[in-house]
Symmetry: C2
Subunit: 209 residues, 2 copies
């Protein structure tokens, strides 16, 4: 079904539109982003838009799905996966989330976290796509958390799933505070608290904040 396509071929309107959606929607939100905004940012025409997407909602779903695959590739490639100790991988992930808070807010905030707030009630298709992205990402972390819990003999109080989801809640919530105060450091502070929580949970000695 999916068109097979050389990696280095010219971008194509569909790709350009989804890429544009990443930045435009993160900056203005889904509802406030018009189809024309997207076309302008992508440098394509409205005809091209509706050739590739049957509606604006359809683009939203495609953007969320592509977001999931882009971010999963991004985190898979990160160095922290190399740690032999699963807890180090979890903490490495948290540190990494803090490290990438660079540049403009719209460059590091989460597309699906932004979109779902506007669409959960009115666009089930987009909401579900956002959940696939968030839940799928959490599942990756959950694997390391589960292994760390086994390795350090933690159990009973909570599940690896719930802790993995909690990490995502903190990250998403920190974005909201950062947007409210227009400050990235408030975001980093919250992630530091998340790190400390995990350290305390696993009773591991650690260095500094």
């Amino acid at each position: 079904m999916a068109t097979m396509k050389a990696a280095n071929a010219k971008p194509g309107a569909r790709t350009k539109l989804v890429d544009a959606a990443f930045s435009v929607i993160r900056e203005k939100g889904y509802s406030a982003t018009t189809v024309d905004d997207l076309c302008r940012a992508a440098g394509v025409t409205k005809g091209a838009f509706f050739h590739h997407f049957k509606s604006k909602e359809d683009l939203g779903v495609a953007a969320a799905d592509h977001w999931a695959s882009v971010t999963s590739g991004f985190f898979e490639a990160a160095r922290y996966h190399r740690h032999p100790d699963p807890l180090d991988r979890v903490l490495g992930y948290v540190d990494f989330r803090k490290e990438i808070l660079q540049g403009e807010l719209a460059e590091f905030t989460c597309l699906v976290g932004t979109m779902v707030q506007e669409t959960y009630g009115s666009n089930p298709a987009i909401r579900d796509a956002c959940w696939r992205s968030i839940g799928g990402h959490a599942a990756v972390i959950e694997a390391d958390i589960a292994e760390a819990m086994r390795h350090y003999g933690l159990d009973g109080d909570f599940s690896a799933t719930s802790l993995a989801l909690h990490t995502q809640a903190v990250i998403q919530g920190a974005f909201i505070l950062a947007k409210s105060k227009d400050s990235a450091s408030i975001d980093a502070d919250s992630i530091s608290h998340l790190r400390r929580y995990i350290e305390l949970l696993f009773g591991k000695s650690h260095q500094g904040m």
Copy 2:
């Protein structure tokens, strides 16, 4: 003779509009909410709307400000303030945040957390009003946290301010997950993690999750 009007107690159009904004915006988001939506929900006309608010943005600011005062009254009235131990007040607050997760999502999620994601880049006035609400609420908790830290001799690693803001990040982030998965229990789980974090921080014994 022209219009027959039911003689009720009169809340006033402004109040009705702000109240309507609370529920409509939480359900559909700020951008997707139209002035007509608000008027319909409030049972007033467009003329009344623009008599009281000079623009939709102005209503957004008023809604955020009124949200701050309504919620602050709501939490001030809650029982957990009576605990003599400041840490019990902090934990009581967290428990209370979990208890109120009842009914439809739009009934317990946060207006300003929803709005700020859509407006931080394009509506500085609304963004600032949202921050006043979030930051102001955090300041109340910060007072108890600071007292608890003093009382239990905690210091150095983090500030009361940053922990207070972290509680808000968790709460906001949990809303996003709840909206994504359309589930309130995922929200409660994250707040339970927040409670456990605070317990671990203060080294207080506690019972299960």
